[in-house]
Symmetry: C2
Subunit: 130 residues, 2 copies
């Protein structure tokens, strides 16, 4: 089972403006855009991974995150080639899961979140491409 950095999920109230800033600063152009779960989602390509800008339309978890914390880093995503094995291992290690089974995430990828109370306050997403 492989495990590698994939992306940093960032909650924002203005994804278009932040995408412009990040493109100028980090050579990170928008490589994919979609509306997912009522959010405008932008993936910005970076050598070795992505920034995922999450701009909520109205309510939902990211809107609540913005209300509570303001804009900023929301989660860290690790890429694996076997998300079922990754979740099985997390259970073995005694980590609480947000998602017991993989579900469809942005970009059509299978994703599953670990609960931050088990991972030092870091919300971790596993993602399997293809």
């Amino acid at each position: 089972m492989t495990m590698a950095f994939d992306h940093l999920g960032i909650a924002t109230t203005d994804g278009a403006a932040l995408a412009e800033t990040f493109a100028a600063l980090f050579d990170a152009p928008v490589v994919h855009e979609e509306t997912f779960d009522g959010m405008a989602v932008r993936f910005l390509g970076l050598d070795g991974g992505y920034f995922e800008l999450l701009e909520p339309a109205d309510d939902g978890p990211i809107a609540r995150f913005l209300d509570r914390n303001g804009p900023g880093i929301h989660h860290a995503a690790l890429r694996t080639d076997d998300i079922d094995a990754a979740l099985e291992r997390a259970r073995d290690v005694g980590v609480d899961l947000v998602d017991e089974e993989p579900r469809a995430g942005a970009w059509g990828h299978d994703v599953a979140f670990l609960h931050p109370r088990s991972t030092g306050g870091v919300l971790v997403e596993y993602v399997q491409h293809e």
Copy 2:
């Protein structure tokens, strides 16, 4: 000038325990440990980058972050082969800098932080290896 994901800085009250959890979950072993600025700093190797666990001894910015926010992601670091050019570009883009000039960071690397008010609430560190 190159720009790539380097590491995720994580504030923690128990770096040893979190390192053990991350090693078991993510195949991310401790590859470097040091005391820096009164903090226990652990770098965990991950395919494509590092986790940097920051455990403050007493006071300082990370201790204050923990008081305010609890444990979790503190900053995102991008690796560049020309930190002076990266800072110059940040100035051109109109981004506020925490560090006007590179300074010595953990692992002996040159580092400089951008102010999160200019980068969507994300505290960004530039780091140059060597």
